[in-house]
């Protein structure tokens, strides 16, 4: 109509976004190069709130990027390098096509390359920012280091990933900061604490795996490129904080031996440790005295001291113990975990380099075996299954070895990443574990008594019912959120615990308030509490199910015995 009227799609969100193809043409890159650039620079597509506006009236599904981001991309020096590489490829192909081998060789020698250092600096301006993103980098590096060295992915990348993952493991061993381990069917999850950050990463098993076809390998390779650079710089900085030499040097007796980095791992973790300076304690901040009630302060101080003591005790979990790993156990994972807690580890000489003592060493305290049966030659050592190590790490104490002997049905491997809230179902195995941690004696297993003769079946029944009651009682208490039963001796004058009295008074007030509510409000309140107690009800259901299963298994065993 008029000339001064505002036209549609000329301002606002329609001009803030740009579609992927337009962005690509603006940068004059191919699609693969554009994707690579976006991944390296950390520029992600956005979903606009009003797609129809941004798409200028059409509802076709398009990928949109912010225009400011693309404009920022245009100042990136790597874009020039991508274009140079494209030209290089074109020239090389021409030389090969014309059979000009000399030109081809010369071109090959001057292949253009680029560095990602400035991108890392720009994306992570401080070291702590980089440390926050290291989870992903670690998982990717560990994953790529397990790839087979066919030509599908650059062998150099695989070797670099291997080197970086080994350096990281070495650092964690030195710092003794591994906290949790979880063996899942996918892989092994580790959690460690580094400079106040909690870092979780996933390591695949060392078995051969077939690669899925619907994964874009180019994208993964680009991510790996970025993450290897990031991890390398982080490793350097971490080693610097411990005043260690980076890259860690290996001294070995065999001269002029070409070591691949997969062999280097064991050298690093075995040969390097004696050369390291004594373990540096992480600088821990002293407790800051806070203004306020003395009681609060004292309690918090006590808590913190206790936490520190616990941590120190945990770090020396396997100190002084000597382990020997049999051939069939996952050697690298176990060596890493054991060394993180101060143990000495070795394995058979023919397996891998770096074994320090042989199986015939008399001072070995534990021998980790995974076979169904083993001819035990030495009396003064325990033959355990590998789950014992992991469960000890998660329980933060040395568990009784009897449950993990060779050929024994293992107790379930519980996940340390699960934190049960009040009222949630706690499986009986975990209850037992908590009890162990508190120092109580473990309950007598029913299976032990079943080995007696049939005369004591009645006793068995009684004991079973007793145990059942105990279990039920414990579960109920857990469900209601109270602490385990406190023994009360008659006639003793107990000193009044001020805190407890306060809590009781508050509970009393709450009950009174609930009684005095109006009918309408009470109705709402009931509804809310019903919802909250849902988890408790589910926990009860779960415990009933478990009981049913236990009873069924007991009945089966009885039938077998009778037969």
């Amino acid at each position: 109509m008029g000339g001064l009227q505002k036209k549609k799609y000329e301002s606002g969100s329609a001009t803030n976004y740009i579609s992927r193809n337009k962005a690509r043409k603006k940068l004059s890159l191919s699609l693969a190069d554009f994707r690579r650039l976006c991944i390296l620079k950390g520029i992600y597509p956005h979903e606009p709130k009003h797609k129809k506006k941004v798409n200028k009236g059409s509802t076709a599904q398009r990928t949109f990027y912010l225009l400011k981001d693309i404009r920022f991309l245009m100042h990136e020096p790597i874009v020039g390098k991508f274009r140079e590489y494209k030209i290089f490829v074109r020239k090389l192909r021409k030389a090969y096509g014309k059979a000009e081998w000399g030109t081809a060789e010369k071109l090959r020698g001057n292949k253009p390359g680029y560095k990602l250092d400035h991108i890392i600096k720009e994306r992570y301006p401080t070291f702590i920012d980089a440390l926050r993103d290291v989870d992903d980098a670690l998982s990717m590096c560990f994953l790529f280091s397990t790839f087979p060295r066919t030509g599908k992915c650059h062998v150099q990348t695989i070797e670099l990933c291997r080197r970086l993952s080994v350096e990281w493991m070495n650092y964690i061993i030195t710092l003794r900061s591994l906290r949790k381990v979880f063996l899942s069917i996918k892989g092994i999850y580790y959690q460690a604490e580094v400079l106040g950050q909690i870092i979780t990463w996933l390591v695949p098993y060392q078995f051969a795996h077939d690669h899925p076809t619907d994964v874009d390998y180019r994208v993964m390779a680009t991510f790996t490129e970025l993450y290897t650079t990031l991890l390398g710089f982080i490793n350097f900085r971490l080693y610097q904080t411990l005043n260690l030499v980076y890259p860690p040097k290996v001294t070995h007796s065999q001269p002029a031996v070409m070591l691949h980095f997969d062999l280097l791992s064991d050298y690093l973790t075995s040969a390097l440790l004696p050369f390291l300076p004594p373990r540096f304690a992480e600088p821990r901040w002293p407790p800051v005295p806070r203004p306020g009630g003395l009681q609060e302060d004292g309690e918090k101080l006590a808590e913190r001291l206790k936490a520190r003591q616990d941590q120190d005790r945990q770090e020396k979990l396997f100190e002084g113990l000597k382990f020997f790993l049999n051939r069939e156990v996952p050697r690298e994972s176990l060596a890493f975990v054991l060394r993180c807690f101060g143990a000495q580890v070795s394995w058979d000489k023919s397996l891998c380099i770096g074994s320090t003592y042989d199986v015939t060493d008399e001072t070995i305290t534990h021998h980790v075996v995974d076979r169904p049966s083993l001819e035990k030659q030495y009396i003064n050592r325990y033959y355990v299954q590998p789950q014992w190590v992991y469960d000890c790490v998660n329980a933060r104490m040395l568990l009784p070895v009897e449950d993990y002997f060779v050929g024994v049905t293992l107790p379930p491997h519980l996940s340390p990443f699960v934190e049960e809230k009040e009222g949630d179902y706690v499986p009986p195995e975990k209850l037992k574990l908590l009890a162990l941690q508190k120092g109580e004696r473990p309950e007598q297993e029913e299976e032990e008594e079943e080995e007696d003769n049939d005369d004591s079946e009645e006793e068995e029944d009684e004991d079973q019912s007793d145990d059942e009651d105990e279990l039920k009682g414990m579960e109920e208490k857990q469900a209601l959120g109270k602490a385990s039963s406190v023994k009360v001796t008659p006639g003793e004058a107990k000193p009044v615990n001020r805190q407890r009295a306060e809590q009781e008074a508050k509970a009393e007030e709450k009950r009174l308030a609930v009684m005095m509510m109006k009918k309408r409000d009470k109705y709402l309140y009931d509804k809310i509490m019903f919802g909250k107690k849902r988890s408790v009800r589910e926990a009860n259901k779960m415990s009933a199910k478990r009981k049913a299963l236990d009873e069924a298994s007991k009945a089966n065993k009885k039938k077998k015995l009778k037969k």
Partner: protein
Amino acid sequence: ARNMAAARRHKRVAASQPGFLRLKPDLDHSASRIGHKKRVNKNKKKNWNKYSDIQDVEEFLEDVRLQERATGGLLSDKSDDGLFFVDVGEQKVRPDPGAVEKKGKGLKPLRIDLILQPDSQVPPPKDILAYQQPNARKLRLMAQKAEKLAAMGVLPRRERLLQRRRIPGSEKPVANNDPARAFYDLWRPDQGCDVFSDPPPRWQRPEKLNVKPSLLPAVEVAAPGASYNPDFTSHQALLLEAHETEVAKLKAEEKLARQLAVRKEDLATEESVFREQVEGLIEEEEEKLEAEEDDEGTAVGPTAQTEKKTEKQRKREKADRVKLQKKAERKAIDSRQQLFQLRTISAELRRREQQTSVRRTRRKDQQEREKVQPRRLGKLRFQAPDLDVQLSDELSGSLRTLKPEGSILKDRFKSLQKRNLIEPRERAKFKRKFKVKYVEKREFREIQ
């Protein structure tokens, strides 16, 4: 010529020996000649060569040369073993174990080659000229001086000039994924990166890019039921989850099948078929249709009569004015009465505020939820990965017999998609494009 002269001398000397018989008899037996040798002056240089007999020396030397040629040295210098052997008797020819067995036919060396081989044991003389270098000493001294300078670290002038010509950016860059590449402290305050240390504010990274696209953690730990040796309840819970997803999938399929199924009402029955066939053929219905059409014929449109309506217009305008006035009065009264309606007004306001706050909280919750969800970034939606779970009979109690489930590569890839770092894409399919063939129709072909 020397040989000829020596031969002639030899003949002469031999002829002058007593008792020498000539071929042609000497006619005048000059007895005076027999017994008389011609007296020669040996002090003249001319006669030294003519009348001296060196045959014995020559013979001796020839013998020596022959020995050297034939056997490579004097026979007197040789040991007994080299010259003689003890004949013990006939020996059977034992085949040499190291010798090669019979080769083919034509592998004997040619006669001409054997003839052309050197048959003398005397080694050929060394060509001194080939080993002579006129300035060997000079070159040796120069090399020693250069070595001394190199040991001190001084480069020769040529290398210095070449290095001065080197361009700093043209050196071969270390590849990014070189396993032996070096790292340095990137975050030191005074360390600048080589390429892009401090960009101008116009080119700095926008703040929005530092915000992560999703609040999900990078590595999500698997559920406790996914442990390799899980406890009963958590494993059951995980199986239940997997079961529910499968049931939901089945339900969706069934729903689709139900929606696409043919309804019983749509199936053709004999009645409906008959009715369709007979449609329009019965006469009664035709008359009814005709009657209906006649009634719809008259349609009257409004006629424009401007002049008559001015009075009406005036009246209407006045009525409108009165209405407006009344409205204004009503408005004034209302605004005065609002003073007395304060309570209800405030109640109304409170209700509205509460509604807006409820809506605000709901919107905020929705926003928070969206921050954790995978966004729709392209043509395809995010497909959640299948739960990794091992059925009860697949569970192995031991780490050795564990068969890993699911691939970590796929898990990482899906996690990247879930966190909105990459958009979900599918593999490009191979579309076969056929060339368009242009063929003339028969009619056109015939026309010439």
